[in-house]
Symmetry: C2
Subunit: 197 residues, 2 copies
DNA sequence: ATGATTCTAGGACAATCGACCTAATATCAC
DNA sequence: GTGATATTAGGTCGATTGTCCTAGAATCAT
């Protein structure tokens, strides 16, 4: 098989296991077994566990970047773009209920491990933050665009964490509805050009 | 030394390491070293790692319970109580910036590990949730008291996660100020008896 | 087809994990 | 003080970890 294909399969499997089990709890053997290759073959493609982590983070950044830019390119208004971002919580609600937010939980773990890969995980936050900030700027919120972006990010993180803690309750949907209402209020005050959050 | 004293020191050390390094990444040897005892002695007090986890969670529940009830007993108004809860973020802001929320990060990790101790970690969420709900009820919010409690919980979790991701920014303080403003609005609408979040 | 290169399998390494055992020490009852 | 009990120290166990090595299989250029 082409080396790149095997490598891609490894990254896919590691991405999944890092999310579902955590980075520390995922072993070389576990990933190799999921892919269906030997541990030796594994080592041919990735020399250390950190290299896999870097590849997984890079993959996640690429995926999210394409998703975000896809919304922008499909002629959605800035407000619709932000609504689509909020909608991620609903779209992935099953996985979030089981394993939390892929971005937040990975970052939290790496922060505790004091792992150098933590800076890559922060890039994921930055990706969303900057993208959201730009959408708010396009909505005429040049002044507090970054604060609004951080606010949405934080509420998404909180919603994901509690959805994980209470997976059987419709909390996630309720919180998403509130966030969309908040977005409406922010967009509305864009025209009237006043009112604060 | 009295057995109970050594046991307490073990729980204290494990509590700290579980928070700062995570449950999985904390070893028997690490805790024993921090306490200053041998691994063998350790095993005399706790037969399995899960037993330590249970003891740590029990300790955390007890501590938080006493803190919350202390506020109630000190003749604070329900609104002041909730403000004190929000103030935890500021009081512990240094640790939160380094290691996130002790409740949320522990729960996330245990959820990924599919660990039975996860139910105990959820009790910690329940403790805050029920306490907050009661305070909102005392504020005359019988109808949506639970929703308001969950909302505050979620925003606290989100604020802690992002404060961990951006420890050098004053985001935590900003978010706390917004939460307190939100609390003012909720308390205000208590009298007028309308207005939604 | 033959040789060079790429890819894979499986074993081996030291280190560390949670867990367990035994012997020595400290504490206390009497 | 003496014996019973409670507590501690340190070694050991099999399993698993990340890492590494080597030999064989597959692929490709020529």
């Amino acid at each position: 098989m082409a080396a790149s294909a095997t490598r891609e399969k490894i990254v896919t499997a590691a991405d999944r296991l890092f999310y579902e089990r955590g980075f520390e709890a995922t072993s070389f053997a576990g990933v190799a077994e999921l892919v269906g290759i030997s541990r030796g073959n594994f080592y041919y493609h990735f020399r250390t566990k950190d290299e896999i982590l870097d590849a997984v983070i890079e993959r996640r950044i690429k995926d999210r970047h394409e998703m975000l830019e896809g919304w922008v390119d499909s002629n959605q208004t800035p407000k619709q773009c932000i609504a689509s971002f909020i909608g991620i919580l609903v779209m992935n609600n099953t996985k979030i209920r089981s394993f939390g937010c892929p971005v937040g939980t990975l970052f939290s773990e790496l922060a505790k491990l004091d792992h150098p890969g933590g800076s890559g995980a922060r890039e994921l936050f930055d990706l969303f933050r900057i993208w959201l900030r730009r959408r708010f700027e396009e909505m005429g919120r040049g002044q507090d665009a970054d604060a609004l972006a951080m606010h949405i990010l934080a509420r998404s993180q909180g919603a994901a964490t509690l959805a994980n803690a209470y997976p059987d309750e419709p909390f996630l949907e309720t919180e998403v509805a509130q966030m969309l209402a908040w977005l409406d209020a922010v967009a509305g005050s864009q025209d009237q050009n006043d009112e604060k959050d």
